[in-house]
């Protein structure tokens, strides 16, 4: 009879048929654990629960969101995380400090030079290690290249999630050039494993520099051309403007960072707010937008790409000669202590809190991923929007599930 798993057939009302599991899987098979969960799974008349994900193409990986909808409107939502949880923090505690670099690599798999910097910078801070200046410049160079590669992909994704198929192809042209360039330097296209405690893995080589020179000669015009595909496209702009507005106060209270925060007009960028590496010596601006909507976030990414090109230009002109590694022993025993570091990744403040107990392994390595915090704004921003708009808003937050699920 009528229970959760079967419904009347549309052909013959006397026949009960099994329903596809996807519809009712949203209802958890266990009693609600909290007040909020009980409230969420209590359906009023006309409301329906549907699953979005975990294998939905526009959830950028394996995010599952249980949506409570009324018609086409989202009433409430409950993100379910953990499909990609690997326990990176625990694994890091069980390997030594060098292992932690490659373990942290796949966290932010679109811009992994930022996540692999976490154990490196923490260890350097705990050791009080001075990194050679050439290594610092190489780091900044590769970070900014990686930021552009990530932002180029973002602009494509944003359009793709709204149904525009072309921009992602152009985004990938841009990204591929950078990624191949970094592959010439590091040997890897995605998970570079390039930073080392005390420097970087190798000096700049000819292959990298010639690719970089080629790319720099057309990067500016190519990016502008790609941007014009979208930012003057009337359909795109109309769809994005006024959608998913975040106000300043909510942005600060929800611990947002990166483009999502700066699109609300708060110029918080770790490169300036708490300078690290050689950023204090480099001239660049922090672009902000006041509107806080999807369009502002999109345009902000383009502005940041321009600033990154400016940074790369300066770095290449001021790159000093010298070693790229400090003198560090193979087996590092880090003196007991704790340290907190943060860098500005393409998605916001990537931070790490490390504790050492004097052994060669981290005692605790807490990774703060910006997408994890940025994603929380969904809970307050999405209700009231259409399901189709939800995709656009979701893409504009630019989450990376590898970091969210750790």
């Amino acid at each position: 009879m009528a229970d959760r798993n079967n419904v009347r057939s549309l052909d013959d009302p006397n026949i009960w048929v099994d329903t596809p599991a996807t519809i009712f899987d949203a209802v958890p098979p266990y009693p609600p654990r909290t007040e909020r969960e009980a409230e969420f799974y209590h359906l009023r008349d006309g409301e329906l629960l549907i699953n979005l994900g975990p294998q939905h193409p526009s959830t950028h990986g394996v995010l599952r969101v249980v949506l409570k909808i009324d018609g086409e409107r989202v009433v409430d939502l409950d993100p379910v995380l953990g499909y990609l949880h690997r326990g990176v923090e625990k694994i890091c505690e069980n390997g030594d400090w060098h292992h932690a670099i490659s373990n942290c690599d796949p966290l932010e798999y679109v811009a992994s030079l930022f996540s692999e910097a976490m154990p490196v910078l923490v260890a350097e801070k705990l050791l009080g290690l001075e990194v050679p200046r050439r290594a610092e410049y190489i780091r900044v160079l590769t970070w900014e290249l990686n930021r552009i590669a990530s932002h180029a992909l973002y602009t494509g994704w944003q359009a793709l999630d709204m149904g525009g198929l072309t921009p992602i192809l152009y985004g990938f042209i841009e990204r591929d050039e950078i990624v191949e360039m970094l592959a010439a330097l590091t040997g890897q296209r995605m998970l570079f494993n390039y930073l080392r405690i005390g420097g970087v893995n190798g000096d700049l080589n000819h292959d990298f520099l010639s690719r970089l020179g080629d790319w720099m000669s057309h990067a500016g015009t190519q990016l502008e051309a790609n941007a014009q595909l979208l930012n003057e496209n009337e359909i795109f702009v109309r769809r994005m403007r006024g959608l998913g507005i975040v106000d300043r106060e909510a942005a600060l209270r929800t611990c947002l960072s990166g483009p999502v925060l700066r699109a609300t007009g708060i110029p918080y960028d770790v490169r300036r707010a708490h300078p690290y590496s050689v950023y204090p010596e480099i001239e660049f601006d922090i672009p902000t937008r006041a509107e806080g909507d999807c369009y502002a976030r999109f345009m902000l990414h383009l502005d940041e790409v321009r600033e990154s090109i400016r940074i790369i230009d300066q770095v290449l002109h001021e790159m000093p000669d010298g070693p790229v590694m400090a003198k560090v022993p193979r087996l590092i025993r880090i003196p007991p202590g704790r340290a907190f570091i943060a860098v500005e990744s393409p998605r916001g403040q990537y931070a790490c809190y490390g504790m050492s107990d004097g052994s060669d392994q981290p005692f605790r390595l807490r990774i703060h991923d910006p997408s994890f915090f940025n994603l929380q704004i969904m809970n307050s921003m999405l209700p009231g929007n259409l399901i189709a708009d939800m995709m656009a808003i979701f893409a504009s937050l630019d989450p990376i599930m590898g970091g969210i699920d750790k």
């Binding site: 266990y30 949880h85 708490h274 809190y353 005692f363």
Partner: protein, 163 residues
């Protein structure tokens, strides 16, 4: 209160946490408006919750440590009333360490499945390949991490040597 490089560190008891953080955020002389991180820590003897704050008025990070939480029943007031973005971070600390944040509306596991019973980042939760690292310890299955209270103070477990 002490200084670690560019980080100032203060320690508070759970009872004063909310008041301290509210003053740090709202007073005009502090203005620590950015909550940079919320982290649980198991030192092997006790539980901590560590908050990092940032203010435009100071070049330092501010670290607020709630320490001395008993390992068998760690309880801390939630800061979601001050920063609602701390909600998922608190859920994560609950999931990984079993730290109970009081006053939050939605404290459930965030990564592990709902029927999971262990707290994976606790120091007494050993991975199968830890057997190689702990002579005489042998293989212990991951899900058997709930130990009687005496065994929680097993001297062979790793402890923080930082005070």
């Amino acid at each position: 209160m002490r200084q670690h490089g560019d980080t100032t560190e203060i320690r508070v008891s759970p009872a004063h946490l909310t008041e301290v953080l509210r003053r740090l955020r709202d007073d005009d002389e502090f203005r620590f408006e950015v909550l940079a991180d919320v982290a649980g820590v198991d030192t092997g003897d006790e539980m901590w919750v560590v908050y990092h704050l940032w203010s435009a008025l100071s070049p330092d990070w501010l670290r607020v440590i709630v320490d001395g939480l008993p390992r068998d029943d760690p309880r801390v007031p939630s800061v979601t009333a001050l920063w609602n973005g701390a909600e998922w971070a608190e859920r994560e600390a609950y999931d990984m360490f079993g730290i109970i944040f009081e006053g939050t509306r939605d404290l459930r596991r965030i990564y592990m499945p709902p029927d999971y019973t262990s707290f994976p980042l606790r120091k007494d939760f050993l991975l199968p390949d830890d057997a190689a690292r702990s002579p005489g310890e042998g293989f212990r299955h991951m899900e058997q991490a709930h130990q009687p209270a005496e065994q929680l103070r097993d001297p062979r477990l790793r402890r923080s040597r930082v005070d």
